[in-house]
Assembly symmetry: C2
Homo-oligomer: 353 residues x 2
């Protein structure tokens, strides 16, 4: 499991057994992709992350670029720091002796780092913790780096039969499975997944597991073509009328116009699932919310999802993720990789150390 570990790994693993971490606190030699509020840049002398109590220090082996990363680089969430939240990696060390069992494990991690004490945490809504930081999204450096920290509480060990190329899709796939947790699907509904990007193509596969008539609607013929492999219906947006005839529409467009399109497709008393977050400044004109009321639409906001279901689906090969990998790049070339990921014909870009 830990073959292919970078040189130097053994030494760092050794550091986890209770050795004080002060030795690494002063290191300024970590490679990381950062956003400073204005531009995205590669820093080669970033200070090494310091695990605090409860944390693990992780060396990622694969990282995935997500539409949210691209939005952050446009100012969404006013984020600054190390980007990235999709990863699979090896635990190099832990801050607390009780967590030693994690050292050397291959892991993925949930991205919400929670307090465990607030009303939300106590109400079983930890992903909505009032005091949370979010890996590479809010108040916490992300994983597009040689090393990063994450609480041990967030880690899930990856089964041996899921390789890194699959495991790195756990986080976005979990977000797709969240939809099924939130929806009540009865009868055999007509479902449109809007968007043929990274998340849209995952959601289309996940929704196809339901007793439903599912189609993926997007703007890119070559991306939609991938649906053929999965037996999922697909249509170009320009060929689809806004007929208010879909029981459920899942907005994965990542575009401020996706919401308006979804309103035009969903039937009265139907459901729109919103996966898209966009920087408000990207909205050119106000969305007309009155159809929500007139047509009595049920709109469900949907964010992070269950890792267990994603890992189970990857393990049993129910979901094809390899077809979504458009490009691979080294972390050292991450600035260029971010630009590549923004191109319309590109789906998933993976980073490697």
């Amino acid at each position: 499991m830990i073959s292919g570990m970078p040189s130097g790994q053994a030494a760092r693993v050794g550091m986890s057994t209770g050795t004080p971490t002060t030795a690494i606190e002063d290191r300024f030699n970590v490679l990381a992709l950062t956003f400073d509020g204005k531009q995205t840049q590669l820093e080669s002398n970033r200070q090494a992350p310091v695990p605090v109590s409860g944390d693990a220090l992780i060396r990622p082996t694969r990282m995935g670029i997500c539409a949210t990363d691209l939005e952050l680089c446009k100012g969404y969430m006013d984020f600054t720091g190390v980007l990235g939240h999709e990863f699979v990696g090896i635990v190099e060390s832990v801050a607390d002796r009780k967590d030693n069992k994690w050292v050397g494990k291959r892991v993925v991690g949930t991205i919400n780092c929670v307090c465990g004490k607030c009303d939300m945490c106590k109400a079983g809504l930890r992903e909505h913790c009032r005091e949370r930081t979010v890996l590479g999204i809010a108040g916490r450096d992300g994983c597009f780096a040689e090393q990063f920290t994450l609480p041990v509480w967030n880690l899930i060990e990856v089964p041996d039969n899921i390789d890194d190329d699959h495991a790195v899709f756990t986080e976005p796939l979990a977000a797709a499975y969240q939809i099924i947790r939130q929806l009540t699907v009865e009868g055999r509904p007509y479902i449109t997944v809007l968007g043929d990007g990274r998340l849209g193509l995952l959601c289309a596969q996940v929704m196809s597991q339901l007793n439903a008539t599912v189609r993926c609607v997007g703007k890119h013929a070559e991306k939609l073509q991938i649906c053929e492999k999965w037996g999922v219906k697909h249509r170009l947006l320009q060929d689809v009328g806004l007929r208010n005839d879909q029981d459920i529409v899942v907005d994965c467009t990542g575009s401020p116009t996706g919401f308006t399109t979804a309103l035009g497709m969903v039937r009265p008393r139907g459901t729109i699932v919103m996966k898209t977050t966009v920087a408000p400044q990207a909205q050119k004109k106000p969305a007309d919310l009155s159809p929500l009321v007139i047509n009595e639409i049920n709109l469900i906001g949907s964010r992070c999802g269950p890792f267990s279901e994603a890992i189970s689906a990857l393990s049993s090969e129910k979901i094809d993720v390899l077809s979504l990998i458009s490009r691979r790049a080294k972390l050292a070339d991450a600035v260029e990789a971010i630009k590549t990921a923004a191109k319309p014909d590109v789906i998933k870009v993976l980073l490697e150390p």
Copy 2:
């Protein structure tokens, strides 16, 4: 029940028994409040409405001015024609002999006039009929007139123990009851009704019937004061923080800023019920939809509701509507009455023939 019927009533009732209606087709002597796309005006020589097959000709005895009427006068729905959709009145005649039993009855009426044939009608979603017209809102003249038509299918006879001042509230009260049909209320949730206007104060009363902690939040101390009578908690908006701590928020503000306030009050994974429709041109800046996704809010659009439940509540005096009547005006003074209804300290304005 038909005492107090205007003179000439008997003759018109006589016309209902199968006599051809051509005799009244050419009358141009009906008083009506109309909107022509630019201004609201009183027309004294409007053509008398002609009931077609399935229709009843109704003489309203009380009419209510609603926030939607005010929005229509700003261009919402691009409506032109006779305004008004809240009424209680007497059936003067019917187009079809089979409907003769309705003549002389005191009625209220649902406002969506449906085809009965489209996919929505066949799916049990008649209020969402693809071909519908809506009384005084879309494609059909409304009730702010001496006479108007409505399909017999839409009529509900008013029990004798509900007088006109109460019965005229059936339509907006039904809209408030619709919320209870759409919500799943479990535990003892915290519910905020946003808005202290006509609909807000009805919704606050209806929500108070649930096993819930309900408060009404508005901008007008004198309106909120009415809540005291009902034992409903109330707060001024300026005194309430946006704490994301309410399980359910019902937006009855009638304002484009209501949605943003609701987003600030509802807890993560909580529910917003949207009763407010506003003309998109009234929105000054785009609403930021990203909190819907980040906080995984469930947003439910809510429009027309069950008349049966409203009539039952009025009949059993569960709901106080008399306290909401701010002004009364004659139909002849309707232009002024519309202006009065738009004043911040005014709740319900009723029109009388």
